[in-house]
């Protein structure tokens, strides 16, 4: 097991390096100088040159990358152009809110997905299966930002039950696990949970169907096992793949939260990314994307290791 973990970690190093390179280059694929966007239109040549030197944009690209990477490794992602605050602390604070949202959404989406997937796979081609697969296909097809708007229309505008935007009363930044704060979490969490719910349902349904058609299930039944015990075998066999899919979905929720967070003004990493894009705050844009991508890589690594630890077949291959 330790050997497997070590091998996986070694494999991650080049990926992390490439991710850093992509994030660095993102700023430089824009035509022209990265500073053009933030400089006032009437800025003098001297001021532009001065800023270029201050940000190091006058040096050759590989040197810039080396310096940027060196600082990033020491936890320095530069300062936000808009606020002047360190990028890393801004990003980490926002990521905390995104994690809260993702975990809430995951607990709803995964529970429903596992439940629908198992019963749909078990009662294949019955009406139960049809209802569950219809819910799943709607879940994976719905534009979630639109669903968010519809939820706001129903529960905030029409019924006036839940708040439409924000993450707490009075716009305060501090999150608390009380009802006053939870009210703000319900709509974004349900909206976020819909896609993972659909994907988990579809995966688990296919898995359950495949496993039930295998010979060993026949043997278990022939041996006289009760259906509940057969079911336990099905779950055991489906677990590693289901776990992998859920891990990936959690990663998508953390990294792809920008649309939902924009709809609900949820103060997470997605909303931060949104403001970085529209204020042309390039260090913040670069830093947010880097942190989110690294989170995603780390999460995938964890899922791989967890998967290997519950399924001995993976380590051997």
């Amino acid at each position: 097991m330790l050997v497997y973990i070590a091998r996986r970690i070694v494999y991650v190093i080049p990926i992390v390096a490439s991710v850093a390179l992509v994030c660095f280059l993102l700023v430089h694929i824009t035509p022209g100088d990265p500073l053009v966007a933030v400089l006032p239109a009437d800025a003098s040549q001297e001021l532009a040159a001065q800023l270029r030197t201050a940000y190091g944009f006058d040096r050759p690209l590989p040197v810039q990358f080396g310096l940027w990477l060196w600082r990033a490794l020491h936890g320095d992602l530069g300062n936000s152009i808009a606020t002047g605050r360190p990028v890393l602390s801004e990003v980490l604070r926002a990521v905390g809110n995104t994690v809260t949202l993702a975990i809430a959404a995951a607990s709803i989406g995964f529970t429903l997905g596992l439940f629908f997937g198992l019963i749909a796979g078990y009662f294949r081609d019955t009406w139960v299966d049809k209802v569950a697969t219809s819910i799943a296909i709607a879940g994976v097809s719905v534009p979630h930002y639109w669903l968010g708007m519809v939820m706001v229309i129903i529960f905030s505008v029409q019924l006036n039950w839940l708040p439409a935007v924000g993450a707490g009363p009075g716009g305060s930044g501090a999150w608390g696990w009380d009802w006053e704060h939870m009210k703000y979490l319900i709509l974004p969490a349900i909206t976020t949970s819909v896609i993972p719910m659909g994907i988990v349902t579809r995966t688990v349904r296919a898995l359950t169907g495949d496993i039930l058609s295998q010979d060993f299930v026949e043997a278990l039944r022939a041996k006289g096992l009760r259906e509940t015990d057969v079911f336990r075998h099905v779950i055991k066999n489906a677990a590693p793949t289901a776990l992998a899919v859920m891990g990936l979905q959690l990663g998508y929720m953390l990294g792809g939260s920008i649309l939902i967070e924009t709809v609900f003004s949820w103060p997470g990493s997605g909303l931060l990314l949104n403001s970085a894009i529209f204020q042309r705050d390039l260090p913040l844009l670069q830093g947010t994307i880097l942190v989110l991508a690294l989170f995603f890589v780390a999460l995938n690594l964890l899922v791989d290791i967890a998967q290997a630890s519950i399924d001995p077949r993976i380590k051997r291959s």
Binding site: P14, I15, V16, S18, V19, V22, C23, L26, V27, I29, T30, I137, A138, V140, S141, V142, P143, H144, Y145, W146, L147, M149, V150, V152, I153, V157, Q158, G251, Y252, L254, G255, G256, I258, L259, T262, V263, L273, N274, A276, I277, F278, L285, I289, L292, A293, F296, V297, N300
Partner: protein
């Protein structure tokens, strides 16, 4: 005489062995869900294509005095938007850009990804490693984040949004194409072609392409739904289409301010995205099971 000929003509097809694609076509035509979805999609495509000839109102012509009319208002069957423009006309015209920016990236990625995957899978060795390890890097980003990062860096615009979505889908299609090609590469008929002196390019084009295209195509049609949602999502964020163009994602964005005044009109563009996306998903599912001859 003529009676005999008729019988002979009618009997002829029954004895003929049906080809693979003919079987797939027949199976999909029997699938009611797929057919309904195909019909809805054709309807939306045709109305978008023929929009100027459908006698609709001008989708750009607004009026301050008739802003945000409700659904069912005489002359405005689907109401008006925040600038008093006819919603029905804008939804129909909106299909043009929305479908273009949603589907074109998948077509481009299908062409690029299939070529890359075919070459990587057939040539193998160092070239395979180079292509597939590059592809792996893009898998280190969640696709929404990657699309937004690239569009955000390139700036708003239709072309940039198409480019960024193409970049998101190329690695996914390359992976599928590579694995399908690797599976076919060592089959006897490829060996036979090689033995008879065919060059690598001829083998890839003549012998491999036809065998790998089916699964890649089905995978790509499944991506259209994601692409539609993401493309409209980019416009929704302000990274795609620019006003006053009618486009579903952008319309949803500009109508957000109207949800307290006229909520259901504001939700209409999203319903269009949802309809197209779910139809493509169901059609792709239908195609997948029609092509799976085992059952």
């Amino acid at each position: 005489m003529s009676a005999i000929t008729d019988t002979a003509l009618q009997a002829a097809p029954a004895t003929q062995a049906r080809g693979y694609w003919a079987t797939v076509g027949r199976r999909i035509r029997r699938d009611k869900v797929s057919m309904v979805c195909a019909f809805i999609l054709v309807l939306i495509f045709m109305s978008a294509l023929l929009a100027p000839w459908l006698g609709l109102a001008d989708p750009y012509q607004g009026s301050m005095i008739r802003r945000l009319r409700h659904i069912g208002t005489p002359n405005y069957p689907l109401g008006t938007d925040e600038l008093g423009r006819d919603m029905l006309a804008r939804l129909v015209y909106g299909g043009r850009l929305s479908l273009l920016i949603g589907i074109l990236p998948v077509i481009l990625a299908f062409m690029i990804g299939t070529s890359l995957g075919l070459v990587a899978g057939y040539v193998g060795g160092k070239l395979n490693t180079a292509i597939m390890r590059t592809v792996d890097v893009f898998y280190a980003f969640p696709s929404v984040l990657l699309a937004i990062a690239i569009s955000g860096a390139l700036g708003a615009g239709i072309v940039n949004s198409i480019v960024s979505l193409t970049i998101v889908f190329v690695p996914q299609i390359t992976r599928v194409a590579e694995s399908v090609t690797t599976g076919v590469r060592n089959m006897d008929f490829v060996e036979a072609a090689r033995a008879s002196g065919a060059g690598p390019f001829t083998i890839m084009r003549v012998h491999m392409l036809g065998n790998v295209l089916g699964p890649i195509f089905v995978y790509a049609t499944g991506l259209i739904s994601v692409s539609m949602i993401l493309a409209a999502g980019l416009s929704f964020l302000g990274l795609g289409t620019k006003p006053p163009e009618p486009e579903w994602g952008l319309m949803l964005n500009t109508l957000r301010t109207a949800i307290y005044v006229n909520p259901w009109v504001a939700a209409l563009p999203g319903a269009m995205i949802f309809a197209v996306s779910i139809c493509f998903n169901l059609l792709s599912d239908g195609m997948r099971s029609a092509m799976d001859i085992r059952n």
